[in-house]
């Protein structure tokens, strides 16, 4: 989505939230101070994020919204609190001079999803009337609203994200599903607080916050380790390059192209990260070349792939990655025959991405000529489906227009 459009849309949503929220607050049976207090809590929790397994940062706001849904019986008060909360969030974003596109387009998604959440609660509660002691029923209603929230949010994000370079809708959906654990613990914390407040008063705060803090800590740690693990592999993958045994930057570029292709095809996020590791380390076998005896004896691509796989497979967790590296030299079919199904998709992607980068940086070809070269190899070496995806990826990156 164009930047201007996102800008205007988020401004419109803010005004909508402010107007609708004030109207609802005015007509609600609840006094104004508690509504404003709730709105402030919703806004503040929208400023705090937790790193989720998909690598995305989720706002804690939905936890506060869940608590509000339990505490407020009056539909107008619920809608008013959440709308005013989101309006306040926008003001805080402006005050912090957050101009970044991503935050604004996230705001679009958050507001839409939260409104869907509130409407679901209101609609489902209407026929059953309001009675604050039917906790089980409220729990079921809010849980349903939570599922609606999740679906709307994922949909909104894939709509906004779709026009972003190379992310396929399927990939974005799978990515959103990876985060269910974070969402569940946010909901639960909100629900615990909402249910306990009436009976336990201030004790409800540690009751809801302590368990959440525990899982928050777990998510933060998991995320930190995920990042440093990636960095470690990146660093190890570059050892052949700093040793002068491989082209500098080749593994990094190959990995970047390979990941784009995988996302374009719509591979599962887990497979994409395996592919990324394999692509980063696809040349690690070259470290063996600092043995003079091996240089004298000569070697083939298959040898390099095998040596690389041997090194990688020393780490039990990377067995699958080692497998992908071992198979990277194999052709996708024998000439005139059907595709060889035993060659992993990821290995075929690495082969194409690596060849593309070599064509650009070793043979100094233009992107168009490099693609031409890969098309020429489509009878045997390079799977045409992957080459077609590469063409889309390269097109989306703007490499082709640059030259024409």
């Amino acid at each position: 989505m164009a930047e201007r459009k996102v800008h205007h849309l988020s401004l419109a949503l803010f005004l909508g939230c402010l107007g609708f929220g004030s109207w609802m607050a005015a007509t609600s049976r609840l006094e104004l101070p508690p509504i404003l207090f709730g709105a402030a809590v919703v806004a503040i929790t929208h400023l705090v994020t937790v790193p989720a397994p998909s690598g995305e940062h989720l706002y804690l706001g939905i936890g506060a919204a869940t608590a509000v849904a339990f505490l407020v019986d009056d539909p107008a008060a619920l809608l008013g609190t959440l709308s005013l909360g989101m309006a306040l969030t926008y003001l805080i974003l402006i005050a912090r001079r957050t101009r970044s596109m991503s935050v604004r387009s996230q705001y679009l998604g958050e507001v839409t999803a939260l409104m869907a959440f509130a409407s679901t609660v209101v609609v489902l509660r209407q026929p059953s009337g309001y009675s604050s002691d039917q906790h089980g029923l409220v729990l079921a209603i809010v849980a349903t609203a939570g599922i609606v929230w999740f679906a709307v949010r994922a949909m909104a994000r894939s709509l906004v994200g779709l026009e972003r370079e190379d992310l396929s809708a399927r990939f974005l959906w799978l990515l959103a599903l990876e985060d269910w654990a974070v969402i569940v613990s946010l909901f639960t914390a909100g629900a615990l607080f909402g249910l306990a407040w009436e009976h336990m008063r201030w004790w409800a705060i540690p009751l809801a916050l302590l368990p959440y803090a525990f899982s928050h800590l777990a998510f933060v740690r998991y995320n930190n380790t995920r990042v440093t693990y990636g960095q470690t592999i990146r660093a190890l993958a570059q050892i052949p390059e700093v040793a002068g045994l491989a082209t500098p930057g080749h593994s990094e570029r190959t990995a970047s192209v390979a990941v784009s292709i995988a996302r374009d095809i719509g591979m599962h996020p887990d497979e994409v990260s395996e592919l990324e590791y394999a692509a980063l380390m696809h040349d690690i076998g070259r470290i063996t070349l600092n043995e003079p005896a091996i240089l004298r004896a000569g070697y083939t691509d298959e040898d390099l792939a095998r040596w690389g796989a041997q090194i990688i497979s020393e780490a039990p967790f990377l067995e699958k990655v080692g497998e992908l590296v071992r198979e990277q030299h194999r052709p996708y079919r024998s000439i005139g025959e059907e595709r060889d199904e035993t060659v992993p998709l990821a290995s075929k992607i690495i082969k194409v991405a690596s060849a593309y980068d070599q064509a650009l940086h070793d043979q100094m070809l233009s992107p168009v000529d490099a693609l031409e070269l890969l098309h020429l190899g489509s009878t045997y070496d390079y799977d045409p489906d992957i080459t077609a995806s590469l063409r889309r990826v390269v097109g989306a990156r703007g490499d082709l227009e640059m030259l024409s």
Binding site: L210, A243, P316
Partner: protein, 437 residues
């Protein structure tokens, strides 16, 4: 052996004594649920190397104590505790000592802790008025359980493995804090169960879901860390395997460093950091052409420079990984001398290197002396010790040297050739047998 039998008998005795009156906690199905959740958490438990993480199974036990506060809390918790130590992996590996010891230990400490709990909050109804009392009781029980666990494990380590773990009592607060938090949380969760009317048992899934999710995330966190560890370890192993003489060097240096670190009272994260530093201390050499490393003659100035450049390039590479950065610093300084007068990469070091770097230096030199090189066979352990002692105070930190010698002697391990007591002898013997890769 007798010890394990003793623990089992004590545990079984308590269990029988509690169950004999035949008064089971009510409602029974709820107890089954708690036991199942407790067992599940114990089976999936992971060890994470610091004290921040509370034990989820302890939380389940204490929550059960509050939930069953008005109906035999001690019996309820002891049943849950008695079930958890038996894990499928133990049966598969035919281990019996650990589960037996754990069974006895857990039953004893659970019985003691929950008795304290029941004493502090006797048959009171869990309501808003009594909640602070339950918080106090559960926190006290948690602290007692923590202290008992800690004591038993220390005791068993001393008597069975002969290791003297130096854990200063000043650490006690940081060990106790999570237990206090667990107690507070258990009281609140149990309180929520009693106090949220008409929802009652439905609160339980809410309560456990949070812990299920956290546990799951911690498990994947621990697996990821293990993955990271084994990746680096595997790489180093695979790469150094090419060189016959340095094979296993990194692993051994990591092992010696860890021994010294434990001896000097390191724990948790600090010990882990030291091990990582040891694992990467030679990675730089991977990028150096083999013939340069294997060269027997002295390296020319040019060659030495070439080697250093490669080493530094890899160090810079690893230093880009945020969390490896301090480890790279340690590794880069392990050639520096204790008295601040060593040379490394042509730069004179200012001041004393960090304790970690001093430990790594001793571990590295000890392994270098006690393993075979291309030009000499391994030296004897006694020679290596006396050599380390001789350079203590100048090249090595005397305290670190003594720590290494003490721990290796107390463990009765022996390294190096049995009777090669001088460099000359080692070189002469190497003339006979040459191991060329």
């Amino acid at each position: 052996m007798f010890l394990a039998v003793g623990f089992v008998l004590a545990g079984a005795g308590i269990l029988v004594w509690l169950l004999l009156p035949g008064e089971l906690p009510e409602p029974l199905p709820l107890l089954v649920v708690f036991a199942a959740v407790g067992v599940y958490f114990d089976w999936t438990a992971v060890e994470i190397n610091d004290h921040l993480v509370i034990s989820t199974s302890l939380l389940v036990q204490l929550t059960a104590a509050v939930v069953f506060a008005d109906s035999q809390p001690v019996v309820a918790v002891v049943i849950i505790a008695a079930l958890s130590p038996f894990q499928p992996i133990d049966f598969k590996l035919r281990r019996w000592f650990e589960p037996a010891f754990n069974f006895g230990q857990l039953v004893i400490s659970a019985a003691a802790a929950i008795s304290l709990f029941a004493y502090l909050a006797p048959h009171a109804a869990v309501d808003a008025q009594n909640l602070p009392r339950f918080v106090l009781a559960a926190t006290a029980a948690s602290a007692l359980q923590g202290a008992l666990n800690f004591t038993f494990v220390q005791f068993i380590f001393r008597t069975v493995f002969g290791a003297r773990q130096v854990r200063p009592w000043s650490n006690m607060l940081s060990i106790m804090l999570p237990y206090l938090g667990t107690g507070l949380l258990a009281a609140l969760l149990g309180g929520a169960y009693h106090m949220i009317e008409d929802l009652g048992p439905l609160t339980l899934p809410l309560i456990f879901v949070v812990f299920f999710v956290s546990q799951m995330t911690f498990v994947s966190y621990a697996r990821l860390r293990e993955a990271q560890d084994s990746t680096l370890r595997g790489f180093v192993k695979a790469l150094e395997a090419k060189d016959l003489y340095t094979r296993g060097h990194t692993e051994r240096v990591a092992y010696f460093s860890e021994l010294i670190g434990t001896r000097m009272g390191f724990n948790g994260t600090r010990l882990e950091k030291l091990r990582w530093a040891a694992l990467i201390h030679d990675v730089g050499k991977l990028a150096v052409p083999r013939d340069l490393i294997r060269k027997r003659a002295r390296l020319s100035g040019n060659e030495y420079e070439q080697m250093q450049t490669h080493v530094h390039l890899v160090e810079d590479l690893l230093a880009e990984v945020d969390f490896l950065q301090p480890m790279v610093d340690i590794a880069a300084h392990h050639h520096a001398h204790f008295d601040g007068k060593g040379y490394h990469g042509g730069h004179e070091h200012e001041g004393t290197p960090s304790l970690e770097a001093r430990i790594l230096a001793v571990a590295d030199s000890f392994d270098a002396m006690t393993s075979t090189r291309s030009y000499r066979v391994a030296l004897s352990q006694d020679y290596a010790f006396s050599e380390l002692r001789q350079h203590a105070g100048t090249q090595f930190d005397p305290e670190v040297v003594e720590a290494l010698i003490e721990i290796i002697e107390s463990r009765g391990e022996r390294y190096g050739s049995p009777d090669v007591d001088s460099e000359e002898e080692a070189r002469r013997r190497a003339e006979g047998v040459r191991l060329d890769g």
